[in-house]
């Protein structure tokens, strides 16, 4: 389990970053028409709200007071119409903003997902599942709240604030200035709480991230947890450390979050008290014949305005939280969107024509770009030169970490070489689009990963347009058909997450069928045959022999038969090709291969 809260993703964020705001606005841009419409509807609403009391006045003054039932009826009907308009305006406004908010986050999620599909595999070595989910689900969710509710509310609050300030100033300058004396205090409090709130917000985020990752890991590993009877210890750890941390951080944040509105409230009262005292004194002074004309009516109105004045401020301070999280969420989302796609199709890339399958490595070196390139030992592949003629099978042999997997990953362009180039049929791989390349390539990975879906869907993943018959014959070719038809619903049996309901061997057979269905020109087998039982493996070996025929194949193999049957064996050690030749040749050399061979296959 993740060891401490500091591990979670805490990009230090600024409270307001114009750069992020600009980019957020770029996402909102396409909906500016809807925004304007919603704003207009909001104005209509406010106008209606103002008109209401006025109509009451009309009804009373020209209706009831004037003893005119007609005027009363007119006023009442008008009021009814206005209420109806208000209903429609609010309804439309919420609908529009809901759609806009949802569309924007839909766009965000779609963009993020598409970007994730393009990021190179080394990105996934660094970025955990939990973090990806937090980005795409939670951080984007925060934006939704902000766009749907806060943007318009802020506009309304600012509007109201300006209006009230103008009204106050035009009514009485001196009283306004008295009321505004609390504003510096307000600013000071805001900046103080802003800082605190930001800190807390970060802590709260990382606390929930910690909870998230501990949950994810333990649910994934629940079988090991139970096998080792760790439930009690894990529970105590979760309760007393992880969840407890989440609780105390949240309580700390609550203390600050509760204090701020109380302070705003207090300042509002202070302003009221000041007006009562100083304004009242001024009224008395006036009536005693002194200077300015402050009437009791002005005083009353002023006191009402002060209440109204603090309403939008209170609301803005509440929205500020939402704004804060939006900035933080936005920053993390853009950080992910900005992660460069290392392996990228160049603009002029063309679709690969049907391949013959000749592969050539020319002086290929490779290291992970995020590691220090100056260190020689970091090189994963070092000056690889290799030529594989059409239709040949190459067995790659070497220790774990020697660079075999990386070598085959370069062929399918999961990575681009740091130096040198990889050629297929004489063309540099970087000239072609990745998808056209991979569509002609079959890959069987170490972990037979299956998706949620039926067995049929999992096999068809190799070639979506394959018919049911084609799927079945691929399954038959790799001896998977027999066990599949014995499953509860045959080919339509659902495979649960990660293939939990199938045995490891069965999962592997399904993944073979998937690769076979793709009918690739170049086949890459990465140590995939090692965990099938002997009988099944025998069948697969046969199927593979047929499959390999006429295709260029790279096999990372441990099984003797595969190695012996290969046209050529390439021995890799520390990222270099140290030996190359047929089984007999290499054994005769008595070098690295023969040593590996002996120590590995003795029982």
């Amino acid at each position: 389990m993740a060891q401490s809260q500091s591990l979670s993703d805490d990009i230090a964020f600024k409270s307001y970053d114009p750069h992020i705001t600009r980019r957020l606005i770029a996402f909102i841009q396409p909906y500016r028409l809807q925004f304007s419409l919603a704003l207009i509807l909001m104005v209509v609403n406010s106008a209606g709200a103002v008109a209401g009391p006025y109509l009451v006045k009309i009804a009373i003054d020209s209706g009831i007071s004037a003893a005119s039932l007609t005027k009363l009826r007119q006023a009442v009907v008008l009021y009814l119409v206005i209420a109806g308009i208000q209903w429609a305006a609010t309804y439309l406004r919420v609908k529009i903003m809901a759609r806009v908010g949802q569309s924007i986050i839909f766009d965000f999620r779609a963009r993020l997902f598409e970007h994730l599909q393009r990021l190179s595999l080394s990105f996934y070595n660094r970025y955990s599942v939990g973090r990806v989910i937090t980005r795409v689900i939670n951080d984007v969710g925060v934006l939704r709240e902000f766009i749907t509710w806060a943007v318009l509310a802020i506009a309304r609050d600012l509007f109201a604030l300006v209006g009230i300030v103008i009204a106050m100033l035009s009514m009485d300058l001196r009283l306004s200035l008295i009321a505004f004396t609390v504003l510096p205090l307000m600013l000071w409090a805001t900046s103080f709480f802003k800082k605190k709130a930001r800190e807390n917000y970060r802590l709260v985020r990382s606390a929930i991230s910690w909870v998230n990752s501990v949950l994810a890991e333990n649910i994934n590993g629940v079988r090991v947890v139970q096998a080792f009877s760790r439930q009690e210890i894990n529970y105590r750890y979760f309760r007393d450390e992880v969840n407890q941390n989440n609780r105390s951080v949240n309580l700390r944040a609550a203390r600050i979050a509760s204090a701020f509105p109380a302070i705003v409230d207090l300042l509002g009262t202070l302003a009221t008290a000041l007006i009562v005292w100083m304004g009242g004194t001024a009224v008395l002074a006036v009536s005693q014949g002194g200077g300015d004309a402050i009437t009791p009516g002005v005083l009353v109105a002023f006191l009402l305005y002060i209440d109204r004045f603090f309403d939008p401020i209170r609301d803005l301070s509440r929205r500020y939280d939402s704004f804060q999280s939006t900035m933080a969420g936005g920053e993390r989302i853009f950080a992910l969107l900005d992660t460069p796609v290392e392996v990228q199709d160049a603009p002029g890339n063309i679709d690969l024509p049907p391949l013959r399958g000749e592969v050539r490595f020319e002086n290929v070196s490779f290291y992970y770009s995020d590691e220090n390139p100056s260190d020689e030992a970091q090189l994963i592949l070092d000056q690889i030169n290799l030529h594989v003629p059409v239709g040949q099978t190459v067995a790659l042999v070497g220790e774990t970490g020697a660079g075999k997997s990386t070598l085959v990953k370069l062929i399918s362009r999961f990575h681009d070489p740091t130096q040198g180039r990889v050629l297929i049929d004489g063309f540099d791989l970087r000239q072609f689009t990745q998808s056209s390349l991979r569509r002609q390539m079959g890959i069987v990975l170490q972990d037979p990963f299956l998706f949620n879906g039926t067995v049929m869907e999992n096999i068809r993943f190799g070639r979506l347009e394959a018919t049911d018959e084609e799927v079945e014959s691929a399954a038959q070719a790799v001896s998977a058909h027999d066990f599949i038809v014995r499953l509860r619903l045959g080919y339509h049996t659902p495979v649960e997450e990660g293939g939990a309901t199938l045995s490891v061997g069965q999962r592997q057979l399904v993944s073979f069928a998937r690769a076979l269905l793709a009918d690739p020109r170049i086949l890459i087998l990465d140590e995939a045959t090692s965990s099938v039982d002997t009988q099944t493996e025998r069948l697969i070996q046969k199927a593979l022999a047929r499959l390999l025929q006429g295709r260029t194949a790279f096999v990372i193999a441990h099984r003797l038969s595969t190695v012996i049957n290969a046209h050529s064996i390439v021995v890799i050690h520390d990222g270099r090709i140290v030996e190359q030749g047929s089984h007999a040749e290499l054994l005769g050399q008595g070098g690295y291969y023969s040593r590996l061979y002996r120590s590995g296959f003795e029982d």
Binding site: L72, V136, Y235, A257, N452
Partner: protein, 604 residues
């Protein structure tokens, strides 16, 4: 609504705090009514009597009351947050612990993304409401009752008219509450589904890339994204209807008063002043009515969250220690299967059919057979990861269903094909099953598992972090740490899978050695792929279609000339021939290169 009531269990421990929060809120509401009264006094009395001192005094009074209100506001907010946080804490703990105890059967079908989203998002929805929402709701209800009473006391006839729109308001709001919780449920499910899609795509990214199926996956994600989009729009669509409707109905009250009250005033049954005052009372309803719909919305979200949380909590783990469980003494190592049949949940075909088996202490049992023949199912019954459908499994002559699970599982060591390690230090991973272990024992276990050497190569040795934030161990290294982990348990019964997937040949031979030392002096069940293991076994079980089709020792079964013989001829013999071939080769090679012995060379 039932789910909301059930949440009461989680609220009950904090009823004092809830009561206090309610009290403070009521105090704030009443104080807020006092300040306008003071202001009225100031204007009426202070200004009329021309008392400067009175003004200063009033200002001080307002300040004092305002300070009290600010303090109370602070406490009220903090208290409700405190309640929320504590309820969320409790609920999350309960969920986590419950999930940990749910049996394999449950996890076979559950999606990690969905479970996590219940522990995080759904708990959040619940705590948000149970804290502030609940208290506000009570406060509002009291306030509404107060205003309505006031209206009736003032003028019963007008009240009867003005409150007519309140009837549809109540109906519409409660209908909204009922509906919206279902819509929120749809949103939560859609969100869980979207998380699962993401989770799967991140874990399976290599496969997606390998088959160039990014467009297909993007399209699937779009679909899930669209479902969420629609679910959200439905929820807000409801909100878009209820919010203006509630405003409209309150306004309608005013209009009715104007119309009927106006006519009453025209007839001279009431004064205009009374009418205006009455209307201003009625307007007091507007804010709470609006807030009420918001709270109902929040409650709907909480109900949906509670439903999803209870769905997990209501799943009673089928596999638990019975109340009168026998705590197992140190095991002798005897294991018996009596007429055992077993089928996975939802499967019609049986994974195991009528298994009878008796294993003496310290015997090594090798299971062989094709993929899906029931080998893993059989061994999973011994630590009671699943329960049999028929027959019984006996360990130490006790039915495993009658013994204390911890005492059983602590004495069984398991090494699975996929060696899952946790992201903590190597040391913590090794002591996973026995946290109170001395350094010597840890090192001894690691050495026996052939892991010590590679561990010491890391700069931090045993304190090296594994996983995301630390080193990435290779498949072979993971497997050896897993072996050390099982070895440290010093189990009487050992279950292992000797397939050494995805490791190079040298590592494989190291693992084989580690496994051999692990098996010594224990009852061992091994899902065997290698001749050496099979030949060494005291009992070989050949499985097919969930049955034991042959059993005996290597030599016995060879002599029988049945299924085992077939498998042997097909595959195992290759290995043997190869070994012989190698032996002669080695003789030749070591003659040519006397120093070329590389056994045990550490490669990683």
């Amino acid at each position: 609504m039932k789910s909301l009531l059930r949440l009461g269990v989680f609220v009950r421990p904090y009823r004092i705090q809830v009561f206090l929060a309610l009290l403070t809120l009521l105090a704030i509401t009443s104080i807020s009514l006092v300040i306008p009264a003071i202001i009225r006094q100031v204007i009426d009395v202070g200004l009329a009597q021309r008392e400067t001192r009175f003004l200063a005094l009033s200002a001080l009074l307002i300040m004092g009351i305002g300070t009290a209100r600010a303090g109370l506001t602070y406490w009220q907010r903090y208290l409700t947050e405190w309640i929320s946080t504590h309820i969320g804490f409790d609920l999350r703990n309960r969920l986590y612990n419950h999930i940990q105890h749910l049996p394999f059967t449950y996890h076979d079908h559950a999606q990690t993304g969905q479970l996590i989203s219940r522990c995080i998002e759904d708990v959040r929805a619940v705590e948000r409401f149970t804290g502030s929402g609940f208290v506000e709701l009570v406060n509002l209800t009291l306030l509404l009752i107060g205003i309505v009473t006031l209206l009736f006391l003032n003028n019963a006839r007008l009240a009867a008219i003005a409150l007519i729109p309140m009837i549809p308001l109540v109906l519409v709001t409660s209908e909204f509450g009922r509906r919206v919780s279902n819509y929120f449920l749809a949103v939560d499910n859609a969100l869980g589904e979207l998380s699962s899609r993401l989770q799967e795509n991140v874990t399976g990214v290599q496969v997606v890339r390998a088959f160039a199926q990014e467009p297909y996956e993007i399209q699937r994600f779009h679909k899930a994204n669209r479902v969420l989009f629609n679910a959200r729009l439905t929820v807000i669509g409801e909100w878009a209807k209820i919010m203006p409707t509630s405003n409209f109905l309150v306004t309608l009250g005013t209009i009715l008063i104007l119309w009927f009250g106006g006519q009453m005033a025209l007839r001279g049954e009431m004064t205009i002043g009374e009418l205006v005052a009455y209307n201003s009372y009625l307007l007091l309803l507007a804010a709470p009515a609006g807030q009420l719909t918001w709270l109902v919305n929040m409650a709907g979200e909480a109900v949906a969250g509670a439903k999803r949380a209870f769905e997990v909590l209501d799943h009673i783990p089928e596999i638990q220690s019975p109340p009168d469980a026998v705590t197992l003494p140190p095991l002798s190592g005897r294991v018996e299967f009596h007429n055992v049949s077993f089928a996975y949940q939802g499967d019609t075909t049986r994974a195991l059919e009528n298994i009878n088996l008796s294993v003496e202490p310290n015997q090594v049992v090798a299971l062989i057979g094709p993929t899906g023949s029931g080998k893993t199912s059989l061994v999973n019954l011994i630590p009671r990861f699943y329960d049999v459908n028929q027959g019984m499994v006996l360990v130490n002559d006790q039915d495993v269903r009658h013994v204390d699970l911890v005492s059983l599982r602590k004495q069984i060591g398991i090494v699975l094909q996929t060696s899952l390690l946790f992201s903590m230090t190597i040391r913590e991973n090794i002591v996973y099953g026995r946290p109170e272990t001395s350094e010597e024992e840890i090192i001894a276990a690691a050495q026996a598992a052939q892991a010590h050497e590679f561990i010491m190569v890391f700069p931090s040795g045993y304190d090296t972090m594994v996983g995301e934030r630390g080193v990435t161990l290779s498949g072979g290294q993971r497997q050896r740490v897993a072996i050390a982990r099982a070895l440290l348990m010093n189990p009487r019964i050992l279950i292992l899978d000797d397939s050494t997937s995805s490791v190079d040949t040298q590592t494989e031979s190291l693992i084989q050695k580690a496994l051999a030392s692990l098996m010594e002096g224990r009852t061992t069940f091994v899902i065997a792929h290698r001749l050496s293991t099979v030949r060494r076994a005291d009992l070989i079980l050949v499985m097919d279609g969930g049955r034991i089709v042959e059993s005996g020792t290597h030599l016995e079964l060879l002599a029988q000339g049945g299924r085992y013989r077939e498998i042997y001829d097909l595959q195992l013999r290759d290995q043997e021939q190869f070994r012989e071939e190698m032996d002669s080769l080695e003789t030749a090679a070591s003659a040519a290169f006397p120093t070329a012995r590389l056994r045990g060379m550490e490669t990683e």
